[in-house]
Amino acid sequence: MENIKHRHSLAALTMTEYVSTTPGLFPLPDWAKDDLSDLKGHQKGDLVSGDEGEEITAAYDEAREEVIGVQQEAGLDRVSEGQLRWDDMLAHPLAVHDAVDTQGIVRYYDNNNFYRDPVVQGDLDFSGDVAQELEATAELAGDDDLQAVLPGPYSLADLATDEHYGDDEEFLAAVGEFLAGEVDAFPDHETLFLLEPSLVENAPEDGVDERASEAIDTVASATDADVVVQPYWGALEEKVYAHLLDADIDAVGFDFVANQDDNVYNLQEYGATDQLSLGLADGQNTLVEDPEAIRDRVDWVYDKVPVSEFETVYLTTNTETFYLPYAKFEEKLAVLAEAADLAEVKAA
């Protein structure tokens, strides 16, 4: 009897922490859309190069400060830079790299969005572009916990064209090493989100799935922060998920907006990491969820999975949020923050 009591109190001590956050890549505030399109232009050659001039840099600085303020005001538990400069979305870290030539405009997954095809023509050595953004963010974030965001190595390699390494396996490994080098230069951060939609959208074949996990492991090993790997636009194929669990990461993300059954299946069949990231708010729809509905969806996931004690559960939108009009994006952040608070209260 004593024993049971003791275990109960232990359980109370290891209560789940609910962390409201986002996968980053925010929409620009509307004034910044106008100002930056005037400053930069509308054509392929006008997109960010990594060495923007003073005026453009100043506009991005101001916009960054604004979106950090929006996150703080909403009460999110992690503050992201917002990746406002990422004209080429997840392809950004390569698009601004010196060894990469940006070519034709290509479709960004199955969306009505486009990015410049980054063609890798030389060694992917250290860039430092993203680290610079994070330094600026760290200064503005104050005491708030900083979250870094990067494309996962598999997605980044998938979005790019290789003309240098000449071998898919070697290229994927090189992209992993490159990202690890970038992470190494980051200022202190609490969490690192690695976005991996290609793991769903262009699922790796046998053998490649293992190497994708190895590349993810390489990136994750470069930081002491908690690493969340967030695939989206559906569920991972089960083998891909199984391999992903072998990587040294803290959480896998689940896009419960796009697919419930297959995600639940993976959790039931293969278990999960100690932490979990739940994509429960729709990053691609203006319909703003009720915080209570988000909390109910957390309960729904708990009902379905065998494990119900996670160290940390991240509550996020399923995808990046740049698809949304700015005002709706702001509303979604507030909902996530409130949902995390509700979940804490309920769990206690």
């Binding site: 929409p27 004209d87 199955d110 203006t286 319909l287």
Partner: protein
């Protein structure tokens, strides 16, 4: 072999026995002064009012319609002078839509992607005024391009319907209602634009179902075209042949006809409106080049089923380049017709040569 539906657009004084109908997809560069007029109209401190702006739109519509006539096109459009964007324009006219601000397409190119927040409803006509004005301004047949329900649904946020298919079919009924009104007003050539099909080719079934709604009770003689562009056609062919349309308007010049073989097997049973000039190249192709492109179409369909048009809307080109492409396209079509009359064209049609077996 004759093709009644297509031949209703044959000009009385057509110079050749063969007839390769020449037309455009729809959009055309706006005259610079029209953009200036819009700025004045939107400037609250300026006296340029609604009447002034309507007059400017009328002038532009007449001007571009006449420019299409001057280029020699058999079927004309007014270059969509009154339309801003292919989804926004319609969403503003359909009850159930609301706008929440611009979203990114790429770089700093944005559009006011609308949200469907309640049941979509038809109120006032969308295009009848535009059609009647152009028909009045021209002696030639007029084509009416209209954004299809799949694209209207897919390029909106859906807050109100259980899924996008349901929204697509609801919008299809509204498009049907509009086409009925256009037909009552005299329109005989309607083109449904479905560029979104190229982004999600697996959805051809719902597009087909939507088209059944669209053409319900529309008289047989009304020509219905479907425009699809910039995608992998092998993923929608031959399934699209089941669609209840007379004509498929396809972008093929951009890829230098690398997808042409897709349409050779099985046999292309509808009319083919072949893209013969690339709208993303700033140089005007020569008449000879366009003649060669037109002959590519003859590898897929006989002359009776061939229509000639640019790959897509030409609105992003400089206006003189757009005009040059139209004029050269018409000249090339007439040359190919004459060569066909003279029996000088020998193009083998049908299945691509098998590889090894």
């Amino acid at each position: 072999m004759s093709n009644e539906n297509k031949d209703q657009f044959r000009p009385e004084n057509h110079e050749n026995d063969h007839f390769l109908l020449t037309t455009v997809v729809g959009s055309y560069p706006k005259p610079k002064w029209l953009n200036r007029a819009k700025e004045l109209y939107q400037d609250p401190d300026h006296s340029f009012d609604d009447d002034d702006y309507q007059e400017a739109l009328d002038d532009a519509s007449r001007l571009i319609t006449n420019e299409h006539e001057r280029a020699g096109l058999d079927v004309v459009v007014d270059g969509e002078m009154r339309r801003n964007e292919m989804v926004e324009f319609f969403a503003h006219r359909i009850e159930g839509y609301e706008f929440n601000g611009p979203v990114k397409v790429w770089g700093h190119n944005y559009f006011d992607k609308p949200s469907v927040v309640s049941e979509v409803k038809y109120t006032d006509s969308w295009l009848v005024d535009e059609y009647e004005f152009v028909a009045e301004a021209s002696d030639r047949p007029v084509k009416v391009p209209i954004t299809g329900p799949y694209t209207l649904a897919n390029w909106s946020f859906n807050e109100a319907y259980d899924d996008d298919d349901e929204l697509t079919l609801a919008l299809a009924d509204l498009v049907n209602e509009e086409i009925e009104k256009l037909v009552d007003a005299g329109a005989r050539y309607i083109q449904i634009d479905e560029p979104a099909l190229a982004t999600t080719p697996d959805d051809h079934a719902i597009v087909g179902e939507a088209l059944e709604h669209i053409v319900a009770d529309i008289p047989e003689e009304v020509r219905i075209g479907l425009h699809v562009c910039y995608g992998d056609y092998s993923r929608i062919y031959p399934e699209i042949l089941e669609f209840p349309v007379d004509e498929f308007d396809l972008e093929l010049a951009n890829g230098d006809y690398d997808q042409l073989d897709v349409f050779k097997d099985p046999e292309f049973t509808a009319d083919l409106a072949l893209g013969v000039t690339d709208v993303h190249v700033g140089e005007v192709e020569s008449v000879e080049q366009i003649e060669e492109n037109i002959k590519k179409g003859l590898e897929v369909v006989p002359p009776e089923q061939l229509v000639v048009s640019p790959d897509c809307g030409v609105k992003l080109l400089p206006r003189e380049v757009a005009y040059g492409k139209m004029a050269n396209m018409v000249e090339a079509a007439r040359n190919v017709e004459a060569a066909l009359d003279a029996g000088e064209i020998d193009v083998e049609r049908g299945e691509p040569a098998p590889a090894d077996d």
